[in-house]
Amino acid sequence: MTGTAVRRTLLYAALLVGALISVAPYLMTLNASFKTTQGMFSTQAWTPAHPATFSNFASLWSQYDMSGFMVHTLIVSVAITVGQVLFCSLSAYAFARMEFPGRDLLFWAFVATMMVPQIVTLVPLFLIMSHFQLTDTYRALILPYVFGTPYGIFLVRQYFRTIPPDLEAAARIDGAGTWTILWRIILPLSRPILATLATVTFVNSWNNLLWPLMATSSERTTVITVGISALQGQYASQLNIVLTAAAVALLPLIAVFLVFQRHIVRSIALTGLK
């Protein structure tokens, strides 16, 4: 073999090892969710579940309100995602294209708050929510994130600025107003970034633990992160059941990601460039 061929082979070998490390935990968890408790202790993580059993799913669903956890999380995540995409687009357009007093100051105030750790706002937020008797409701989980986050506004504004302004100028001459331009020209051209924002928001809401842990306390608002961490304490000796719950929590996001992966891989990179 020539030197380049050797280098190529080594490169692929290293990348393959990396790819294997990236997906192995997912695959082993999925595999474990089809094993019995006994099988968990007598076989290795990578030994295929044989015979495969569905009993873990059955006992998970019979003892826990798993469907409930997922529905609660879905309601909260979808509401936040829809709000984010809508409100971030509106303010991003104003910040990217309109002239108004205080624009730059406001924009940088938004961006600066990205540095504020979540916990700083959560303790006072809990005080606000309990004052209005909103703790343990969906509203408490949705309201703080639904109107758009600094990150979302920043992301969409940067993208809007790459759209040539001539398109809008032409539409304005034809008598189109701001709403028409936004709806007919800007948003259709911005599908990749909006898909990315939607996915990032959905993933963050689905995975969020700290705020739901603080703000909710009863079964009827338990989201999947809170549900699973409670279940983990109870089933410490039945790893197969806990891992089944983990697999159930992980898979919906993989599905969402694989649908949008082309957009995401491209636009995540865009935000870093400027």
Partner: protein
Amino acid sequence: MEAYLLIGPSLAGFLLFLVVPIIGVFALSLFSWDLVGTPQFVGLANYRRLAGDGAAWTAVGNTVYYVALNIPAQTVLALLLALALNRKMRGGKVFRVLFVLPWMAMPVALGIIWTWAFDPRHGAVNHLLSLVGIAGPNWLTSTTWAMPVIASVNVWQYTGYTMLFLLAGLQAIPEQIYEAAAVDGVSAVQRFFKITLPLLRPSMFFVLITNVIGSFQLFDTVFVMTQGGPGTSTTTLNYYIYQQAFQLFHAGYAATLAIVLFAMILLVTAGQFLYFRKRTVYDFS
């Protein structure tokens, strides 16, 4: 006028759920509050308590230790991956997608999976080590190993995501610069340190700022895997704040601690800004 209509909803949310709570946390740090009763004004008592609270400073130390384990490992691995993928190759896109898959995983679920993988008797890690004749320790009950194991969850989760940013940065470096360097007979090592790394600074800056801010807020995996233990060896500041507020019901003191975390992040971020500003042209517009 129209502009204010467009930013109206976001601005209202921003004021109510970010600005008011940020002001509120400073106010709350002057009160004693048990989460249910009426807050009592106590002046600077929470700050005096902070000065003498060894556990709080241990938590600060643990947080810094975690960031110091996590960020270098993650950044160097991501850079190596980005360099490997920065060429025309078959399957490059597939690798990119596979490397980003860990990014979206739920940290709570990952905590469960890692606890299993590092289980001393039934875990995959110790089994693999035993194949090469090493007796693995009881990772999560060891004050030495618990934090590195927790850091490894984060490295696994974010290396691919960080790689995407660095890869985009690499691809933005003009080909002509490398061609010119080749004409001048620049060695591969020099090319990396004198051309690639300096021109990668804008991407590096973005990646480091956002990852460091995120790392300082470690909570989920600690909550699931160790509850701050063994002893207090994995009690990060964020976890300690949670304990103070929601397990011990010292919400006023928790607010004081939250300000400490905020100050740490501000300091480190400002430091990074200054470091990079001297060495980079980064267009913020």
